[in-house]
Amino acid sequence: MKKYDNFNFKAGLIITAVIVLIAVVGCFATPYPSTQMNMELKFSAPTASHIMGCDNYGRDIFSRVMEGIRNTLFIALGTVAIGTFFGVIIGAVCGYFGGRIDDALMRINDVMFSFPSILLALVIVSILGTGSFNVVIALGIAFIPSFARIVRAEYKKNVALDYVQSAALFGAGHLRIIFVHILPNIIPVLLSAVMIGFNNAVLAEAGLSYLGIGVQPPEASLGRMLSEAQSYMFTAPWYAIFPGIAIAVMVLGFALVAEGISEDTVKGGFR
């Protein structure tokens, strides 16, 4: 493994670490119960005890943002896991073997690729029904094609290289070559793709929950908070601003890490 020590990588890592920390802490405790309602605190502006203010039920926005980050992060994690797992398998098989299998699978891949991922997720969710679990599946499926493409291209490149040829000469089986010999060599590229995947998954989840699909109330979701906050832009602008910033910061963190990785990996190309 290379050492990544450029600025982007470090900054991204710090942001991501803080986000993950918030999410993990949010699993166990939030400053206030995220669904606790209080009539007197309706639309209270940010104060020392409620640092992000309160919403239309007098619920603490900071606690809800914490919960929202946690939910978004889990959905992104599930999405990327599904996308990577199937993407690597499909991409590896296509790239390594080529020929008929490659043609057939890539044709299906192209079909799915011709749907923008949010549209594909929308259709899948309307079949499966709403709920965070279904959103994970829908986005996961929608993310497979892009992973498959990247992995396939890398395998195509590697298959022609000497080390693979010699591994084959030494009698290594296909599976062994695919997973033991080639896979480690494409990890930097894959890692960067995973981080970009996180980035896109967070955006897609936020978009879907803005449309009311995904995490169900009273549980908090950043996109839904944004949607609700639109009614109260004049009286309670903080209601929209904090969830929005939370999404942007999450995306920024992942993007910077991805940037940092590719900066040190892709030699000669970009600088």
Partner: protein, 311 residues
């Protein structure tokens, strides 16, 4: 030429599979259009009668083939909820989405190309660094959040436009374009940031190549080198990116339409999905897929033209 022909064939094959998949997907969806149409007071007989009338009682494959045949003839069927021709509904909505995408794309090009050249020219300077940081931040803001902020700031505080004041192109073309400018800007900003980043590094990597040094040694000025050689080559990877961006913009408009209350294709798709208005949903999805596939095809053609190395 043979390659191009092959591409066209595979384009249609892709579309055929898309339409089959979409058609099948709505087979297994819960909720029945007949029940939905009749509402809460429907009896079982009435539902059965309507199903027969709508042709829903025929086997799947029969319905698919007849639908496909009609589609090829340009007949997209009749909407369940509007009793209108789906084709005329789409013709009505398509300009909204197309104009919005076009404005976003123009904004992206007009802003990103000069900015990227500027940043590349002053690479590693203070301006470049600041620009890159701003760029990175803008890339991270989801366009619908930008849309909400813009509605609040420009619509409600500065009153530069009327939030939700969409004007149909049939009534007032200038007003129509004027309103769509804002959502288009919200869509364009993150894409712009991405273009700037890609183009900047593409220019820099080109500038490092042998032929540039040769050009300099022949006495060409920086400007000449940049515009005549570097930019032409640096744009090749960007064309692919922009092609994909168009598809992304069309999809992204589904959410943005909701923010700005625009009755475009995205809105029509969302409501048709919840109304189980299958003829509309299928037509819209196939249409979007068609646009995406077509974009890929065009990008491919352009790349071939610009860069003869691509086979």
């Amino acid at each position: 030429m043979k390659q191009v022909f092959k591409k066209i064939i595979s384009m249609f094959a892709t579309l055929l599979i898309v339409s089959a998949v979409v058609f099948a997907a709505f087979e297994i969806i819960p909720g029945d259009p007949a029940t939905s149409k009749l509402g809460s007071n429907a009896t079982a007989e009435a539902v059965a009668r309507l199903r027969a009338q709508m042709g829903l009682d025929r086997p799947f494959i029969v319905r698919f083939l007849s639908w496909l045949g009609d589609m090829l003839k340009g007949d997209m069927g009749i909407s369940y909820s509007y009793n209108m021709k789906v084709s005329s509904m789409i013709v009505d909505k398509l300009p909204i989405t197309l104009v919005m995408t076009a404005i976003s794309m123009i904004l992206t090009l007009v802003i990103s190309v000069p900015t990227a050249i500027f940043l590349a020219k002053y690479a590693k300077s203070g301006i470049d660094r600041t620009g890159q940081i701003m760029n990175q931040a803008l890339m991270a803001v989801p366009s619908f959040f930008l849309g909400i902020l813009m509605t609040w700031l420009f619509g409600m505080v500065f009153k530069w436009f009327r939030p939700g004041g969409f004007i149909s192109y049939r009534k007032n073309v200038a007003g129509f374009v004027g309103y769509l400018f804002w959502p288009s800007l919200a869509i364009a900003i993150p894409k712009c940031a991405m273009s700037i980043k890609l183009l900047r590094s593409a220019i820099l990597s080109e500038a490092d190549k042998e032929y540039v040094r040769t050009a300099y040694s022949r006495g060409n000025s920086t400007m000449e080198v940049l515009y005549r050689h570097v930019l032409k080559n640096a744009l090749v990877p960007l064309i692919t990116f922009w092609g994909m961006t168009v598809a992304d913009m069309i999809a992204g408009s589904i959410v943005i339409e909701q923010v700005f209350n625009i009755p475009g294709l995205g809105r029509m798709l969302l409501t048709s999905i919840s109304n189980r208005d299958y003829p509309v949903v299928e037509a819209v999805i196939v249409l979007i897929a068609f646009v995406v596939v077509l974009m890929n095809f065009i990008v491919d053609l352009i790349c071939r033209k610009v860069d003869p190395r691509i086979k």
